[in-house]
Symmetry: C2
Subunit: 108 residues, 2 copies
């Protein structure tokens, strides 16, 4: 499909999701080719769930779909960035972003 | 070291780097435990280079070091977010960010 994208040995590519309005980094998920195809073709972000080993329409359980604004590849074609509009908290904990826990050198 | 972090089967964890001032997502790299330890302990972002299979002090060649502002883990402890101040273009192409190529459904 997308000829030059580098999917890993499991057929997946990491995808960073960023709030297109606030710039906040919301989560990182993994897409297979079909998830990327659906993300580029439709309105919502799709992933491949590594734990469930199936396509994952993000929000299908919570109702908090993520609406795609634009999709980008990085310079060496092995990472995706999705700029998007979340319709609710992205994190399963109810937080807006999955990155709500800070690490410091005291954690070492 | 950081007890609950989930490094993958290769001992690596993906790390998103974001410009702490502009919110721009700059790159995604991979850290091993030592790279994360140095990133948390010092001033600069460190990665593990998968191609060279060695610790990678980002900027050691270009001079464009990335200064760490804060480090975050995600909800399931398998991704890192570094909010940082780049001292020059992050991408080896000379672009400020590695995500300068947009994908559209025409790329399918």
């Amino acid at each position: 499909m997308i000829t030059n994208l580098q999917f890993n040995e499991k057929g997946l590519i990491p995808a960073v999701v960023q709030d297109a309005d606030t710039g906040e980094v919301l989560m990182l998920g993994y897409m297979n080719e079909e998830a990327l195809r659906r993300t580029l073709s439709g309105d919502d972000v799709w992933f491949y769930s590594r734990s469930r080993q199936e396509l994952w329409h993000k929000g299908e359980t919570s109702g908090n779909y993520i609406k795609v604004k634009s999709v980008w590849q990085d310079c060496d074609s092995d990472t995706i960035l999705v700029r998007a509009h979340p319709t609710g908290p992205v994190c399963h904990t109810g937080n807006k972003t999955c990155f709500f826990q800070e690490l410091t050198k005291q954690d070492l």
